[in-house]
């Protein structure tokens, strides 16, 4: 029972932290606004610049960062369990690169514009890359090994990003349009973009929580899980679908943001344990906090310009990635 109380407290703390970070994200930035003004912008909107900034720029940004962080962290947690690979995450598996290539191709070749359409394209790209990588690493002699998954992901990612760059070279007017997106950023996105993909993200969250129990069984190993009567193929393919929903939706809104999905589940696991019914929601909360915090700090580092938040997460995440690679992987 004590454990449950502790875990509930952790979840509650996580929610409070998310709320706090959202508020900070709304108040602080290039145009510094005060807490009182932020409050007034919602209660009695008067059309001043500050209020406009808060309503049209800061609020969407905070919401997007929160949703993206939560989705990525949950997707990472699911993948790490399904693939039994401590380094699995949407970014490493080429999902981001796939979405990026599709978006750039849509802009340069088909002249597509408008965020709504592009988010669908991003979805398609993420799905395709995910399916490719999973199929490749499941084929061959001894099925899906962690190493094969990582390497196949790296190769697919390298291929897609090379194609992306090629397209951008041919059409460098598109570069300006997509450069910031390609780096992963939650800046300058309209609320409508989030609205468009929110149903998918929300569905992803719900499915994630529904899968938690099955994932607990799966984590015991394929043989044990099969012995306990788990339909492995069903659970694994459902998991992949949820990951595509979450990661694809995130990429569509915020561009490819790496390393959140690797890092956060590890931290969450060390705090709340390996029971997925707790781990998955807690990862989501921590992911939201992490991305919000990264986004807030990204505003201040090279003011008045902004660091894309994808760069921030890479800078924080790579040392962590290397730490995990050193710790867990060499031994296997």
């Amino acid at each position: 029972m004590e454990n449950v109380t502790k875990n509930l407290l952790l979840l509650l703390g996580g929610m409070l932290a998310v709320a706090l970070c959202m508020l900070l994200s709304i108040v602080y930035g290039y145009t510094d606004t005060s807490w009182r003004e932020a409050y007034q912008a919602f209660v009695q909107f008067n059309g001043s610049t500050d209020h406009l900034v808060i309503q049209n720029v800061r609020l969407p940004r905070a919401l997007i960062a929160g949703a993206a962080g939560a989705s990525l962290a949950m997707a990472g947690a699911i993948m790490q369990t399904v693939t039994k690979n401590p380094l699995a995450a949407p970014g490493i598996l080429g999902i981001n690169a796939g979405a990026g290539f599709f978006v750039v191709a849509a802009i340069t070749i088909f002249g597509l514009n408008g965020t709504q359409a592009l988010s669908w394209v991003a979805f398609a790209g993420a799905g395709l890359a995910a399916v490719l990588v999973f199929c490749i690493s499941a084929a061959g002699r001894e099925g899906m090994t962690p190493m094969k998954l990582t390497l196949a992901g790296a190769a697919i990612a390298a291929m897609f990003s090379s194609f992306t760059q090629g397209l951008l070279v041919l059409e460098d007017s598109a570069l300006e349009q997509v450069l910031f997106w390609l780096a992963g950023s939650v800046q300058g996105r309209k609320l409508e973009v989030l609205q468009a993909v929110f149903p998918y993200l929300a569905a992803g969250w719900v499915f994630t929580l529904l899968l938690a129990k099955k994932l607990n069984v799966l984590a015991m190993g394929d043989d044990v899980a099969r012995g306990l009567g788990l339909n492995l193929v069903l659970v694994k393919s459902l998991s992949v679908m949820v990951v595509v929903l979450l990661a694809g939706g995130t990429v569509a809104v915020a561009g490819p943001i790496g390393f959140v999905g690797i890092m956060v589940p590890h931290i969450a696991r060390s705090w709340i344990g390996i029971d997925h019914r707790w781990l998955l929601p807690f990862s989501g909360l921590l992911g939201a906090v992490f991305l919000l915090a990264a986004d807030i700090s990204a505003r201040y580092i090279i003011m008045p310009q902004e660091v894309p938040v994808g760069v921030m997460t890479a800078v924080i995440g790579v040392p962590f990635f290397i730490y995990i690679a050193r710790k867990g992987f060499g031994a296997q």
């Binding site: 196949a152 194609f163 290397i322 050193r326």
Partner: protein, 351 residues
């Protein structure tokens, strides 16, 4: 027929084995390279007949032919050739060192490191009008330093009672991601025209190189290649594995350090002038190994020739297939290389 021919100089203490079959294949590759070179000189925006190309090579031809072949096409073909050779040789060295068929300059992060350095160099040392404020001669140095930094990071971070190949590859992927983040950062901080310039460069292209660049690149890479050939016998021992190499009386760690430095230098030179042409360092040595076996003398030569052929072909396809557009050579090498990499992945047993 004996496979090996022993050659001894009557004076001095030099002797070596010649693998006759391998030499034949290498000669064949060499002629293939010559053929590709000629075809590449003939095709393009302005199409020349092979006869006129040959005439031009030997000093004849019309003035227009001379201009097209010598001023426009030769420099880029030479740079493509040298870059392909350097990348392929660096790949061969790395694969021998870490004894992993999947090691290559791109996967391990050397290319990404060099790219980050070059983009930073372009961003830091250029003024408003996009002209460089320092001589472009320093560009290879910057690329080399970037590649060296990445190599150092990967090597040091994967050290844990020795360097395990698997760990090295994984950490290389991580370091690559970090370097890519740095590159993106530099592209975003700089003005947009610079970003597009940098982007072309990252993809890997030999578009618009001139003789001046060739004259900087050629001595640098050629001397490194000669050193690599001289180091081939050390590589043979390294590939036997740590224990055997130590028992053979080799200072393994010191040699490994020098060999990595060599590979880094080769990658730096290639990346500085031709950009991040991907996957050549991976696939060329594999093809070469299929052809001539894994003794490093012939292997290096065959890798270099295959690398050169690959990059020249990729460039040729890139500048002729989608006229009037030019697609960077790196796109095609990635298009061939990534599936090949996956094929290797599926075939390998030990992962």
């Amino acid at each position: 027929m004996k496979r090996y021919q022993v050659t001894r100089l009557s004076q001095g203490r030099i002797s070596f084995l010649l693998d006759l079959a391998a030499i034949k294949k290498i000669l064949l590759l060499f002629f293939l390279l010559l053929a590709v070179f000629t075809v590449s000189a003939a095709l393009g925006d302005i199409r020349l007949s092979f006869m006129s190309v040959l005439q031009t090579f030997t000093g004849g031809g019309t003035q227009l032919d001379q201009l097209v072949v010598f001023s426009f096409r030769m420099p880029r073909m030479i740079v493509a050739m040298l870059a392909g050779m350097s990348l392929a040789m660096a790949g061969a060295i790395l694969q021998g060192l870490v004894r992993n068929p999947l090691a290559s300059p791109d996967i391990i992060g050397l290319t990404a490191g060099a790219s980050a350095a070059v983009v930073s160099f372009l961003a830091l040392f250029s003024n408003e009008s996009n002209a460089l404020t320092v001589s472009i001669q320093w560009l290879p140095l910057a690329a080399f330093l970037g590649a060296a930094l990445a190599a150092l990071l990967v090597y040091v971070l994967s050290w844990k009672n020795g360097v395990s190949p698997v760990r090295m590859v994984l950490i290389g992927i991580g370091v690559s991601a970090l370097m890519q983040a740095a590159t993106t950062m530099m592209m975003i901080v700089g003005p947009i025209h610079q970003a597009s310039q940098a982007n072309i460069w990252i993809t890997g292209t030999v578009h618009g190189v001139n003789w001046k660049e060739v004259s900087i690149m050629a001595p640098y890479t050629v001397s490194l290649m000669i050193i690599t050939f001289l180091a081939a016998r050390h590589l043979n021992i390294q590939e036997l594995g740590e224990e055997l190499a130590v028992n053979a009386g080799v200072k393994v760690e010191r040699q490994r350090f020098w060999l990595i430095l060599l590979a880094t230098g080769l990658v730096g030179g290639a990346v500085a002038f031709a950009g991040g042409i991907g996957f050549v360092g991976l696939i060329a040595p594999h093809m070469a190994r299929r052809l001539v076996g894994s003794s490093f003398g012939p292997l290096l030569a065959a890798s270099a020739l295959l690398g050169a052929i690959l990059v020249i072909l990729a460039d040729l396809v890139g500048r002729t297939l989608f006229l009037p557009l030019e697609v960077p050579a790196g796109v095609f090498t990635a298009g061939i290389g990534a599936p090949y990499f996956i094929y290797l992945l599926l075939r390998s047993k030990r992962l």
